[in-house]
Amino acid sequence: MSGLVMPEPKADLIARRTEIIAALRTIVPGEGVIDSETEMRPFESDGVTAYRQLPLAVVLPSTTEQVSKVLAYCNANGLPVVPRGAGTSLSGGALPLADGILLGMGKFNRILDIDFANRAVVAQPGVTNLGITTAVAHEGFYYAPDPSSQIACTIGGNVGENSGGVHCLKYGLTTNNVLGVEMVLITGEIVRIGGKHLDSGGLDLLGMVVGSEGLLGVVTEVTVRILKKPETARAVLVGFPSSEAAGACVAAIIAAGIIPGGMEMMDRMMIHAAEAFVNVGYPLDVEALLIVELDGPEAEVNHLIERVAEIAGGLGCLTLRASTSEEERVAFWAGRKAAFPAVGRISPDYLCMDGTIPRKALPQVLTRMEEMSEKYGLKCGNVFHAGDGNLHPLICYDANQPGELEKAEAFGADILLLCVEVGGVLTGEHGVGVEKRDLMPSMFDETDLAHQQRLKCVFDPDALLNPGKVFPVLHRCAELGRMHVSAGKLPFPDIPRF
């Protein structure tokens, strides 16, 4: 592990390991509790493989009742809990703790209710993102958020991370597509929030839970809305001589009132890496490539494709191809979707960053990133959810070269700080986790973070759920609850009163 500092493991918990495992086995019998080093090894990290830690034990419950009893036990014994779905987190959100259990939700893998009339699906949290779409595809429906890991990642993990995907400019993130959850609190209490109806009529607890990175509770059931798959989807592949020109094209498309289903940008390095990997005919003599996908009723898509082509032509694009068949559309996307493995072929290791910027800052950010690339001596390619300004720089390094991981991490941190500097944010869809935890003060001051932590205190006052994630310093709830009251003798002499 690099310089990452996690909460100090409690020696007394580690000393009680045998007793704890025996107690957990009375709740989750059979193979539901894993304690051998070999069998725990696959759980030691998530998608951020640079960070690894074996937990005290891995617990794999299969009923809500078991989750409830496990959490109540952990609460009574001060035992930390790290919830985990498929372990595809790109921010270290499911990194285990040496003195805590890893609560794997993989056995919650059933779809409980498919309700086409109300356009809703009720699923257990271990169902994969794509599994929901697969279950409703025969009636022409789908679940809209589509993170790149959708074959593997689970809907429970999506709720934890508020996952996005290439279609979220038009169809929203997870939070906009979740209708309800059943959740177990650290006390073991079970609460249902939302359902097949819309909104809460009161405080939006659901909105607080989605994206809370496993720090508030363990989700045991999720209700999502499903949508009819668009009648038609067509994509345009447009090459530009500069990223500025490509960025101008994106702005012009949106200013023309068009919200594409997906709008992706790749830089020269990524175009070449992807083309070498999947060979789909990307133009190699351009600096930036846009994939613009229009979806909806056929008449509308054909109309909008023409308008996008006109806009791109007017802004000096070098190449332009509109897909004329479903095979061709899929081929356009194949390179983009293979971007990460394509980089894996040209570099032994890479870090995938995830900041969002106001789109107009793109040229400035790309220029500064080139300078950083020179400074650190590490190559960096860029894929960009151009519609919503979500940037994914891929920093290439070699973990076998001493010091390169640390250099790559420092480069990544500089990129994220740059995102904040230009008015953006540290993470658009991957979450804070451990990866961006220590950068949080660049976006939020003490008071801002204290108000976020008060939400944490509502659900988990003893900070047993996923400690060490999201917050650089987790204050004690009693300390946060204290109010510093000034005398306030002369009430606001200056404020106008009526």
Partner: protein, 415 residues
């Protein structure tokens, strides 16, 4: 969002004024009713506070970048001003915030952006485009601790830290006074038409709306007005029958194509008609603002029939209406059946009947939107909470407003 408070109005000019006012209230154990323009006064439980903290002096759009789809404005900025600003760039607040004013006998167009977020408003586009919560990107606010804080950001895609902008939507001023809000804005559709199916009962209408909203044809509004309610909406009053309305928005060639397809789908179910753009806009505004149950300007909400707002699964909507026939309730349905607006003509709110119907529908929530003060003081106005949720809500209040300074009791007694 307030109604007649006993105390003076305090009109802060900026965030620093609000911090000062809240700190004073905390120190002196006084209470503040957080209010915007009072367009929604009468919504929620009636409360008495020492002072009203009126935010309508905090106005102005502070950032608007159409190509970035982002707008920031001070909390007291009128919604009408924001809509006019973004309309000039052919954009809109896609969640179509309803205007509560006319339902309480007040003029239209008074609402503020802070009020929109505090009440998590939405209109007929809610099922496809979301509510205010879905468009909240960032905020600045002063909590009941007298501390100014920010949350979220100014970009459309952000998962950095807890989603307080969403979490505080719908808090009715009980956790924090918003000072500035950042929202996502979207392109306005070029034009609009509405396909009407006449003469359906509510059950058949729910089926037709489910089929239409589950089709390829991008229906951005689906409402059903029984004949006696349709008679109160000028754009469709002439039909003399119940009206099931399906809104189609976008570019004209697409609308005509989709209308044709939907007509094929629904021809067998009832008589078809359609509304052109101007009538469509008038009709959907009437649905959005609950015009069939609105009062004339200056009308007295104290003596008007009670109005409920109920959210259930779309197919469960007609069951709510059926369960209320014994109370002679008048209902109409938005959100493809999932949003039921109910008027109780006999003066009683029939709370047990409404809550029982929501429970029988498989869950949802019912809010007593309009009723005399005494009724709203005696009944639970918002959906009653189960014990675990009530504990979470209480702890939210403890964390954000431990001194019970900000609009205490507006949503729940003692909170």
């Amino acid at each position: 969002m307030t109604e007649a408070s006993t105390g003076d109005r305090l009109c802060p000019r900026d965030e620093a004024d609000i911090v000062e006012a809240v700190r004073w209230a905390v120190a002196q154990a006084r209470t503040l009713d957080v209010a915007g323009s009072r367009s929604k006064a009468g919504l929620g439980r009636p409360i008495q506070t020492d002072l009203t903290l009126e935010l309508k002096g905090l106005t102005g759009v502070t950032l608007y970048e159409p190509e970035e789809l982002v707008l920031s404005a001070k909390a007291g900025t009128p919604v009408a001003e924001i809509e006019a600003t973004i309309a000039a760039s052919s954009q809109m607040m896609a969640f179509e915030p309803m205007d509560y004013g006319p339902l309480f006998g007040r003029p239209a167009g008074l609402g503020t952006l802070g009020g929109v977020m505090a009440c998590n408003l939405a209109g007929p586009r809610r099922p496809s485009a979301g509510a205010a919560r879905d468009h909240a990107l960032g905020l600045r606010a002063v909590s009941g601790r007298g501390e100014a804080f920010k949350a979220g950001g100014r970009v459309v895609k952000n998962v950095t830290g807890y989603d307080l902008p969403r979490g505080l939507a719908g808090s009715h001023g009980t956790l924090a006074a918003f000072t500035e809000l950042t929202i996502k804005v979207l392109p306005r559709p070029e034009t609009v038409e509405t396909l009407l199916v006449l003469g359906l009962d509510a059950g058949a209408a729910a089926g037709a709306m489910s089929a239409a909203t589950g089709s390829y044809y991008d229906v951005s509004g689906a409402a059903h007005l029984p004949a006696e309610v349709a008679a109160r909406v000028p754009a469709v009053a002439g039909s003399g029958q119940s009206v099931t309305a399906l809104r189609l928005e976008g570019v004209l060639p697409s609308i005509l194509h989709r209308r044709g397809k939907l007509e094929e789908m629904l021809r067998a179910s009832g008589t078809l008609a359609h509304l052109e753009a101007a009538d469509s806009r008038a009709f959907w505004q009437a649905v959005r603002d609950v015009a069939p149950f609105a009062l004339p300007e200056g009308g007295d909400a104290e003596s008007a029939p009670a109005v409920w707002r109920v959210s259930v699964a779309p197919m469960a909507g007609p069951g709510i209406g059926a369960a209320l026939t014994q109370a002679s309730a008048r209902c109409f349905y938005d959100w493809a059946g999932g949003l039921v607006w109910i008027e109780m003509p006999d003066g009683a709110p029939h709370t047990a009947l409404v809550r029982g119907a929501v429970a029988a529908a498989g869950g949802g929530h019912a809010t007593l939107v309009r009723a005399p003060r005494a009724t709203r003081a005696a009944e639970e106005v918002f959906q009653p909470l189960d014990p675990v949720t009530a504990m979470l809500v209480k702890r939210m209040k403890d964390g954000f407003d431990p001194g019970r300074v900000l609009s205490p009791g507006r949503m729940y007694a003692g909170m």
